[in-house]
Symmetry: C2
């Protein structure tokens, strides 16, 4: 593993991703990503989408359907190897659950296990993969083999 600086840069890139997500800002989200055919995303319950056009389309759809979302990130672990970085973390999510309309706001919580992958080019880390999967709380932790 490399030095602290790389690690900090990766954490900053990862934080930018969640800032863009929380603000529902498609331009800011586009800045986070490598806008290429290599980009891919798997949202919780969704099939994997390949290429920046489909990735961007998914963000647009999600932002339209999500008036409010807030993340508390836990268990963030960074692995840097050359020009690739992988961040795994838990997204602890609070979001508005009500349908569109004038009804009272309802909030729902969820936990999503996430792998984010970044590639460095021209000194900047850019996201090439975001993979989030729903955590079912009723799954027992498996036995640990030692």
């Amino acid at each position: 593993m490399l030095g602290v600086t790389d690690d900090d840069d990766v954490r900053a890139a990862n934080a930018s991703f969640y800032a863009a997500f929380e603000s529902g800002d498609l331009d800011a989200m586009a800045e986070v990503w490598e806008r290429s055919d290599r980009a891919r995303v798997t949202h919780p319950g969704w099939p994997t989408l390949h290429g920046w056009a489909r990735v961007a389309g998914s963000w647009q759809a999600i932002f339209s359907a999500t008036p409010f979302i807030q993340f508390v990130l836990t268990d963030e672990e960074v692995l840097v190897e050359g020009d690739v970085a992988m961040v795994t973390l838990d997204e602890n999510i609070l979001q508005s659950a009500g349908s569109a309309g004038g009804g009272a706001e309802e909030l729902a919580g969820a936990r999503v296990a996430t792998t984010n992958v970044f590639v460095r080019g021209d000194g900047r880390w850019r996201m090439v993969n975001h993979h989030g999967s729903p955590v079912h709380r009723d799954v027992d932790p498996p036995p640990v083999e030692r």
Copy 2:
């Protein structure tokens, strides 16, 4: 991206992972992985497990509970950048669904969207992350922004 040889080596490492999974062979599975603190796994619906001891424990639990499993892999896409490789694919799974005992065998199908990450060391690709998430078939493909 690098040459064809790297790509082929990564595909071979990825195939070894699924061969070990199908055969339920913990030793073969251990050979596939980087057995270090960096290893991590997110099985469908599970929280992320960190470190080889927990990863190995999860395989032991899964192999014990899975008398039969077969994978048909589709949409396999490989990204190689230096000594890191990422493979995304769909696991189309056929597995025995019956509980233990002498009852008639029942088979169930499922689709899992998967990200596998490998790191090369001493000329060998070793898995550092396997992340699989359930695909809910009733999710509409999102609109594509062009």
